[in-house]
């Protein structure tokens, strides 16, 4: 059927406007960033000097760069390994067992993801405070010596992972609960008649049928880990102690704010773009399964 002018114009505008916004606010800044990484731009003067691959050479010789890449991957993998199984299990328990108070739990667990990251970070800084923090005081009751959780190389990343899991758990719980709710009840009833218990139902019905939801969440989390991780790290540790919690994004930000080294920061930004893209592709490829229709 031939579309009339108004309909075609509508389609053009609806696709054109987002495309223009995408080009202006995402694509062009990315290209500009790539360009800046090849110059000595200090943030003020447009009298730029071309420095070639100087910033990339510096980056590949910089141990902090490797440390921050490793930390970003560790943060992503660590949080996913704790947060996702936990959120999935709770979603299944709360939804499948029709627990009466599930709405209460849903609100309770979702609450942290509505609180601004600044507040959450400050709150956890009080919890982790080595001199008067709640955690050390609690451990003291059992005779366990306190720690500078955010100030020790061995504990800082774990402390941040705990904060991230606490923040993100409720969000994915709600996401997964919606996924579980969409699975038709009669599939479970048939499985029950065939003698399948709760665990078999979970592994053979629930997880396969909501796999696409989990997969989308994993890809979505690549980007979230970068943003949320940056905020938490920047407020609580500034990448310290001695870069032990430095992420690529926080390192990039520090290169701008503390050193006005826009060229180097742009090179780090390009690396971050490449790494997150690779990570997202790896997650997409490695989690590809047959999609079940129901």
């Amino acid at each position: 059927m031939k579309k009339n002018f108004a309909s075609r114009s509508f389609d053009a505008v609806m696709t054109g406007v987002p495309t223009v916004i995408y080009v202006f606010f995402i694509l062009l800044p990315c290209i500009a960033g790539l360009f800046v990484s090849l110059t000595d731009f200090g943030g003020f003067s447009l009298d730029l000097k071309y420095v070639g691959l100087y910033h990339y050479k510096k980056m590949f010789n910089d141990p902090v760069f490797y440390k921050s890449v490793w930390n970003y991957i560790a943060l992503y993998v660590g949080t996913v390994l704790i947060c996702f199984p936990l959120a999935l299990s709770f979603a299944i328990i709360l939804t499948r067992n029709r627990i009466k108070e599930r709405n209460f739990y849903r609100v309770l667990f979702f609450f942290p993801s509505t609180v601004p990251l600044m507040i959450i970070s400050l709150m956890w800084m009080v919890v982790y405070n080595p001199n008067f923090g709640i955690l050390n005081q609690f451990l003291g009751l059992f005779g366990v010596p306190g720690q500078a959780w955010l100030g020790t190389k061995d504990t800082v990343m774990w402390a941040i992972i705990v904060m991230l899991v606490w923040r993100q758990f409720g969000f994915y719980l709600v996401f997964f609960m919606a996924g579980v709710n969409n699975i038709p009840r009669d599939l479970y009833e048939s499985a029950k008649i065939d003698g399948a218990g709760e665990i078999r139902q979970t592994f053979y019905i629930t997880i396969p049928l909501m796999w696409e939801v989990v997969r989308t969440s994993l890809v979505f989390y690549v980007q979230t880990a970068c943003n949320v991780g940056f905020n938490i790290v920047y407020i609580t540790t500034r990448g310290g102690p001695d870069n032990a919690s430095q992420l690529l994004s926080s390192y990039m930000y520090q290169s701008i704010t503390e050193q006005l080294d826009y060229g180097y920061a742009s090179a780090l930004g390009t690396a971050l773009l490449v790494i997150t893209t690779i990570l997202a592709l790896v997650v997409l490829r490695s989690t590809k399964r047959e999609v079940y229709q129901y």
């Binding site: 509508f10 609806m14 009298d47 405070n129 008067f132 100030g151 870069n243 503390e258």
Partner: protein
């Protein structure tokens, strides 16, 4: 109906898209620098200049000093009726300045946090004009030149190729702070030598408190500029001077080894509060007020910054000692402060000159300004002009600087912006027990060597 709705929706999208693009293109603020300047008219009989119909554009960053330009600008307007002042006092002034410079509407003068905008980058990028002609202007009473009443020692920071670029408007005196009452009540005496410091550390340990703590979250500033570098400069001036000139071999020499030995001794004897390495500056200062440790590296903004937090038993004092060897050695403290620069593109040089004449040589303007920031200024005879307006701890630090200690600027931190960050990291790692002396010295050697051998980094010369 459906068609109309689609058309309306389409129109809305176009308006939104155009609106966004128009908003992006808008420039911030006025554009005093680009407006053609009007002629300065001499008012005639009293010889006073007439700036009526002109606009003076200023940008001041929000910081510990408060809006201390306001009294000066008010005085300027009182003296020159008809002058319009476009004064911006904002946090994130660095971003505002960036936008305005790139849109060719830079303010006439600007003051940005040194952490937010390294001043040597501004000079290197040619965004500021030299101020030597302004320093040669007469004071308000005409008795001298500005350069003659200013303490030009600190103006060495900002001296490039024989030209001055930076006005040092207010001084922060930084070093180690303590509670006088706590020392009195516990019969503790102020250390004057290394042995006395160690004995103080032992006594404090017996009282279940630490000798020293330092904010780790801002390690590039607090432990680095207010403890480490003054300690280096106090213990071995030659090593300090060599490092300012990027002589990385200094990290292998005895002087530097001895300094790191001292730091390790403080750590290993349990005199350092390692918990503070995980804290921000406000938390560290709260911990200091709670007497978790006795000496805090900080600047003279401390008393005002924590105004609501001091308990009644507190009396803040400045320690006239920077971890030197023996009593009588020259101790050094870090003297930095709020600075301002004149935009390269200003066309209001005459008004800029009047502003600085007032700021540095008009009693009313000085007192108005000090009444806001409560700190000292690099003006000869400052104590007589506005000394009574200082907080007690600041007044004590000024007295100590004048009589007992010597100020240092730590220029290398401003010249090479990676140094403070990395030295801060190294201090945190050393004091937290993650690295030992050898690794500290090797990292320092590598850091300075890397900068010295990088041709893309502009090098400066420290004259001593």
């Amino acid at each position: 109906m459906k068609k109309t709705r689609k058309l309306l929706l389409m129109l809305l999208c176009i308006v939104l898209a155009l609106g966004s693009l128009v908003a992006c293109g808008k420039q911030e603020g006025g554009s005093a620098a680009t407006d053609p300047p009007k002629e300065t008219k001499d008012a005639g009989e009293d010889g006073k200049k007439d700036f009526s119909g002109r606009t003076f554009d200023t940008l001041l960053s929000v910081g510990g000093g408060g809006n201390y330009w306001e009294p000066v600008l008010k005085r300027l307007q009182d003296l020159y009726p008809g002058l319009t002042v476009n004064h911006t006092y904002e946090s994130g002034a660095g971003d505002i300045l960036r936008t305005r410079i790139l849109s060719n509407s830079a303010p006439d003068i600007f003051n940005i946090n040194q952490g937010e905008l390294p001043p040597y980058n501004v000079i290197k990028d040619g965004l500021a004009r030299p101020i030597d002609d302004i320093l040669e202007l007469p004071t308000m009473d005409g008795s001298a030149k500005l350069s003659e009443i200013l303490d030009m020692g600190i103006f060495a920071l900002g001296l490039v190729d024989g030209k001055h670029y930076i006005f040092h408007e207010m001084l922060y005196l930084s070093g180690l702070w303590y509670d006088k009452n706590f020392f009195k009540e516990n019969d503790l005496s102020l250390p004057k030598s290394w042995d006395e410091l160690m004995s103080l550390g032992e006594k404090l340990k017996g009282m279940d408190t630490n000798l020293l703590g330092a904010c780790g979250l801002m390690s590039h500033e607090y432990p680095t500029s207010y403890w480490f570098w003054p300690m280096v400069a106090t213990n071995d001036w030659e090593t300090y001077s060599r490092l300012q000139n990027l002589d990385y071999e200094a990290f292998k020499d005895e002087g530097m080894q001895k300094i790191v030995d001292k730091m390790v001794e403080v750590r290993d004897k349990g005199y350092f509060n390692a918990g503070t390495l995980a804290l921000g500056n406000a938390e560290t200062q709260m911990s200091f007020i709670a007497h978790d440790f006795a000496l805090l590296p900080c600047g003279s903004w401390l008393e005002a910054e924590m105004a609501d937090a001091w308990t009644d038993d507190w009396e803040l004092g400045f320690l006239p000692y920077s971890f030197g060897d023996k009593a009588g050695d020259k101790q050094r403290m870090c003297v930095i402060g709020l600075i301002s620069m004149v935009s390269k593109t200003t066309k209001n040089e005459d008004i800029v000159g009047e502003f600085y004449r007032l700021l540095f040589s008009d009693k009313e303007a000085i007192r108005g300004s000090v009444g806001v920031h409560h700190n000292a200024m690099a003006i000869k005879g400052f104590s007589e002009i506005a000394g009574d307006l200082l907080d007690p701890s600041v007044a004590e630090a000024v007295k100590i600087l004048n009589e007992e200690m010597e100020g240092i600027n730590i220029e290398m931190g401003k010249w090479y912006t990676t140094i403070s960050k990395e030295i801060g990291n190294m201090i945190v790692a050393l004091m937290g027990g993650d690295i030992e002396k050898e690794e500290f010295l090797q990292r320092g050697y590598d850091l300075f060597k890397g900068i010295a051998e990088d041709d893309n980094i502009t090098k400066y010369k420290f004259e001593g």
